[in-house]
């Protein structure tokens, strides 16, 4: 019985990433003779959270089927953070508004991407690539000379640690968990999975394919925030 479960675990596609991460960590602390092992984990978790969030956005897009990808995410992130910081303007009271603004810009970018893909029939790789160039420029000119520090409340929030684990990491895990549920257990997520497997079958099964794709690209854009 236990052998069977182990076999099933080993067959999952993601197990090897965790194994790899573990091996890398072990290799690293071997080199440092155990020094700073804990700190490495904490730092790694904090930084990894960003990749996780963005990665999940990308995952939804890629799940739409072969050819779908969002290359504008890096630029998107840059712009979103600039927008957020500028709106917050170092003021604790504006934190929520700033976050909302960043979210809004991300969604707008996602919708624009989809417009290029659907209306102008540009393949997703090129469409998102081009828009990433444009976003980069917007970001640079908008953020020119930006020396604004994040509001003190925001900054201290991100530094909280619960049981030694950075709060961002915990939020990241929660976020991933929620997204997992969305994907597997909500109609929207099911639709995405269906479209990715067989777009024609999804259409013939009554799924509003184009609408779901639009939402997904917008969602991915929102991840930038």
């Amino acid at each position: 019985m236990s052998m069977d479960r182990v076999k099933k675990l080993l067959a999952t596609p993601w197990i090897w990433s965790f194994v790899g991460a573990l091996l890398v960590w072990l290799a690293a602390i071997t080199f440092t003779h155990g020094y700073g092992a804990g700190g490495m984990l904490t730092a790694g978790l904090s930084l990894a959270v960003f990749m996780v969030i963005v990665g999940i956005g990308q995952m939804f897009v890629i799940t739409l089927g072969p050819g779908n990808v969002d290359l504008s995410l890096p630029a998107n992130i840059g712009l979103a953070s600039a927008v957020a910081m500028k709106v917050m303007d170092g003021n604790d009271a504006m934190i929520a508004v700033g976050l909302a603004a960043a979210l809004g810009s991300g969604i707008a970018i996602g919708i624009a991407n989809y417009g290029l893909i659907r209306v102008l029939r540009i393949p997703p790789i090129i469409a998102t690539l081009s828009s990433s160039f444009i976003i980069l420029s917007i970001d640079i000119s908008y953020g020119r000379g930006l020396q604004i520090k994040p509001p003190p409340g925001f900054a201290s929030f991100t530094n909280i640690q619960i049981f030694g684990l950075p709060i961002l990491a915990i939020l990241g895990v929660i976020f991933a968990f929620v997204c997992g549920i969305v994907l597997q257990r909500m109609i929207y997520g099911r639709s995405v999975l269906a479209i990715g497997q067989n777009m024609r079958a999804a259409r013939l099964a009554g799924i509003p394919v184009e609408r779901i794709r639009l939402i997904t690209y917008a969602f991915s854009g929102a991840r930038g925030h």
Partner: protein, 324 residues
């Protein structure tokens, strides 16, 4: 099945877009001419031997990398590692090729062999090329950094000499671009085996049924990508004279954009070597010189590239067929 009417030599009903189709094929060249015209208008002095030399210098390595990408796209694959590979080649060129030529040559040849090997792997195990080449890009990057942690090195003299050629009347970059485009055009579009290679992208099953080896075609196309990647790295170092591990990173996306701009499509085996070179030249010109002359703030130069891509592809979509 509604019968198709073929009375004598009447014009076939399926080609009403003939003038539009012609326009579509010429789109890359038209874009280039448009940009050149804009440059001429903004800064007439740029249209000179010296001006072209300066503006188009960096276009050669980009064109070579674009051709490398084109080979891979021809067989419905994608190479996300060409940029870091060019960087790796650059580092090898500026170090080993200069100090220990034989070792340098061996390593570069090894790089090409690895590329060909990737083709074999992708075919035999039916792996998505995007994932494989993405992984390889990190490998090349890492090797490049190991070789040259800090920018430096020195290009071999023969390379400097070649890239510094000053032929009479026509600037070197233009000559080089023409030669490269013509050679690859004849190789891929005019040779008998080139037809098989392209056919593999158009209808692999048909090629297979006719008795050709699909494994061989994948291996050859990836190998060619490696060869042109090497050329691109060499050319780049010949111009910049020293190397840097990150020097080629932007080439991956630029090469994809160049192929598409030049009329290529992601699936179907429809590519154009001449178009790809023109696309690369267009991107190179639009990247810096044009925008500088237009006094577009440097912040916006990157964005302008994006806009150009979108405009050209939108034009292509409007002129009839999907962009891939």
């Amino acid at each position: 099945m509604t019968p198709v009417s073929l009375s004598g030599t009447a014009a076939p009903a399926r080609r009403p877009l003939h003038p539009l189709r012609l326009l579509r094929t010429l789109l890359p060249a038209l874009s280039l001419i448009l940009i050149l015209a804009a440059i001429a208008y903004l800064n007439p002095r740029a249209i000179s031997y010296f001006g072209f030399n300066l503006m188009l210098n960096l276009a050669i390595p980009i064109a070579l990398a674009t051709l490398a990408q084109m080979f891979v796209i021809t067989i419905n694959e994608l190479d996300l590692s060409i940029g870091t590979f060019v960087g790796f080649v650059g580092c090898v060129t500026a170090t080993w090729l200069h100090d220990q030529p034989l070792l340098g040559i061996a390593v570069l040849a090894g790089g090409v062999a690895v590329y060909a090997g990737l083709g074999v792997l992708i075919h035999l195990r039916n792996l998505p090329s995007i994932v494989v080449t993405l992984g390889m890009s990190f490998v090349w990057q890492g090797l490049a950094i190991l070789l040259l942690p800090k920018p430096g090195g020195k290009a071999p003299d023969w390379l400097l000499g070649m890239m510094g050629l000053k032929p009479p009347f026509v600037p070197f970059p233009v000559v080089a671009a023409i030669v490269i485009a013509v050679v690859v055009h004849f190789g891929l579009m005019r040779s008998s085996y080139g037809a098989v290679l392209r056919g593999a992208g158009g209808n692999g099953q048909a090629i297979d049924r006719a008795g050709w080896s699909l494994l061989k075609t994948k291996m050859i196309m990836f190998g060619l990508a490696g060869v042109f990647g090497v050329f691109s790295g060499l050319a780049l170092i010949g111009i910049t004279t020293s190397a840097d591990a990150n020097i080629g990173n932007g080439y991956t996306l630029l090469s994809i954009a160049g192929v598409i701009l030049g009329g290529g499509e992601f699936v179907g085996g429809r590519v154009s070597p001449i178009g790809a070179v023109i696309g690369a030249l267009t991107l190179a010109l639009a990247a810096s010189p044009l925008l500088t002359f237009m006094h577009i703030p440097p912040d916006w130069q990157v964005g302008a590239n994006g806009i150009i891509l979108i405009v050209v592809l939108a034009a292509r979509a409007l002129l009839g067929r999907r962009g891939g």
